[in-house]
Symmetry: C2
Subunit: 338 residues, 2 copies
């Protein structure tokens, strides 16, 4: 099958670019020094490829991701790097402990109580290291760890996410700020103990020599937001559309904002008719764009690059693995939802 035979919009993964990215990261952070974040792709097939490149542990953002990876036989060491209070889904996680090692993030007495009451056995203390999101203050971490141990949980260590530092144009500034963030995490770890110090992402994976593991996810497929960093990863994911309407001023393809995460702004166009094109705007089911050269023809294909890979993956139920324009596999996006 050829990309031309796919119904559009079609989520397409370039197998060679993906392989390049997996090999590159596995060389930089081999084995358990990378805990790939599956929220960036939500596919057990892609997670299996990461495992095949030597990474047996995974990071998840939702209970659904944890349970799905466990059911797929990828449950060697799963971290839910997020707080959950819902007893029903915590019970699902506890049940999955039968055939998977599951560790949950906690950052408050309430989240410790919920996890312990559900029968979850392992925790990391989630520490705020600068991003205004989840995580306790570093000086509270020891107390939260004590609460968890009192409730019978094993506290494996600490995690933090310096999400506000993923895209800092000046390298020296980024390095200094990441150092400060890790200082906070290590201060918390001194009070918490445990063998795990987990942090980082695709924007900072190369700066982490004082943590035990990095939680990068976007590196596998990439997007135009992370591409601006100049890291050694290639764009591996595209949403392919069909031109359904065209005139001398602009063209319209069937890749709309229901097929493309828009929180990082408009996507871009990788190639169009051997040249390029500028994106004008997106509607629910349409992208209006202006080819750099000539006039588009109805029926032509356009390859669109997401500005943010994570929400884009969550909008599709299948990804097509391609080599050139040949379709070589079909990967379900089977970890969607919560």
């Amino acid at each position: 099958m050829n990309v031309r035979d796919l119904g559009t919009p079609a989520l397409v993964i370039d197998a060679d670019a993906l392989e390049h990215n997996l090999v590159t990261m596995a060389a930089a952070r081999p084995g358990t020094s990378l805990r790939p974040h599956v929220k960036a792709h939500k596919s057990t097939s892609l997670a299996a490829a990461q495992a095949a490149h030597g990474h047996p542990s995974f990071t998840c953002a939702t209970p659904r991701e944890v349970v799905g990876l466990a059911a797929a036989g990828l449950g060697h060491d799963l971290l839910l790097a997020n707080e959950v209070l819902d007893p029903r889904r915590l019970a699902m996680l506890a049940a999955a402990q039968e055939h998977a090692s599951i560790t949950v993030a906690v950052d408050s007495p309430e989240t410790v109580d919920a996890a312990a009451a559900a029968g979850l056995r392992q925790a990391l203390i989630d520490v705020n290291i600068g991003l205004p999101r989840c995580g306790c203050r570093p000086r509270e971490a020891g107390h939260i760890a004590d609460l968890a141990r009192t409730r019978g949980m094993t506290v494996r260590g600490v995690m933090g996410y310096e999400g506000h530092l993923m895209v800092v144009p000046d390298h020296a500034e980024q390095e200094a700020k990441v150092r400060d963030a890790v200082d906070r995490l290590l201060a918390a770890h001194a009070d918490v103990g445990g063998e795990v110090i987990s942090a980082g992402g695709t924007g900072t994976y190369h700066l982490h020599d004082r943590v035990t593991e990095v939680q990068a996810g976007s590196y596998a497929l990439m997007d135009s937001h992370y591409a601006q960093l100049g890291r050694p990863f290639q764009q591996a994911c595209f949403v392919v559309g069909t031109v359904i309407s065209a005139n001398p001023r602009f063209a319209v393809a069937d890749v709309g904002l229901k097929a493309m995460g828009m929180d990082h702004g408009n996507p871009s166009i990788a190639e169009f008719d051997g040249s390029g094109a500028d994106v004008w705007f997106l509607s629910d089911e349409h992208i209006t764009f202006v080819p750099h050269v000539g006039v588009a023809s109805v029926g032509e294909r356009v390859w669109v690059v997401p500005a943010h890979i994570d929400p884009t993956m969550a909008m599709h139920d299948v990804a097509w693995l391609v080599r050139g324009h040949e379709v070589i596999d079909r990967w379900p996006i089977d970890l969607r939802g919560w």
Copy 2:
């Protein structure tokens, strides 16, 4: 069941606000003078409620929406207000003609050819009336209609969408611009013929006395973008989240940008703890916000108002119909995808 018992993020529809909106629109545009656009909710349950309010015809943006409505017994008069070239999905539409009346938009010789070749029997000529998206130029419409008739199709009339005029703050300016847009559509209709002149949306439904039907969709559930217009519709859709982390400076709930369309910017917070709250930012699975009064508690619920209803609906697989905080029904979002 109470809203408190729902796993979060939970898509919630206020039954009374929805009923108010359906009644209000049915009074303004009764029967077939409204062709509700299902892309705004993607639910056959909600479409059935619109049909119960007297609207037997529907507008769709995707083949999946058409086929799903037909299978649900709502196929009295379905318009696919979008161009499709994919032979496989056109064949699905043609097969659905067995138990539904299906009309497709065409705007070029290529889209006429594709529809006719698949065996589709009815078309509207899609006319560009100012929005740079699909639609032929008004003076080309007669030619496209002739092509369709030559291919054996029944041409039922014309459609256009003045999407660029949905939100114009000055009422007189909006009215004048809509008049110009409808002038173009009527010029095309003079060349095309047929009994259907279809246009409009929630932002302009009250200005259309020269078309036979309006394609509004957002009026049923609304969003903060359309709310600024001051039309007589109430906010009926919310994404309910749980506070999973809180401190004196801010709170974090589990309603992220994978649960919320972001192309119209950040959502807002309808109510929080009897007061309000300001949204700071969203991540994949989190909303960081600042309560107007006091400090949030872990476990509290927050009701978030989408800035754009259409992509928000497409991110969820179920909506919970509620009256106050009591859950009274479960509506599958069963028309997702393409």
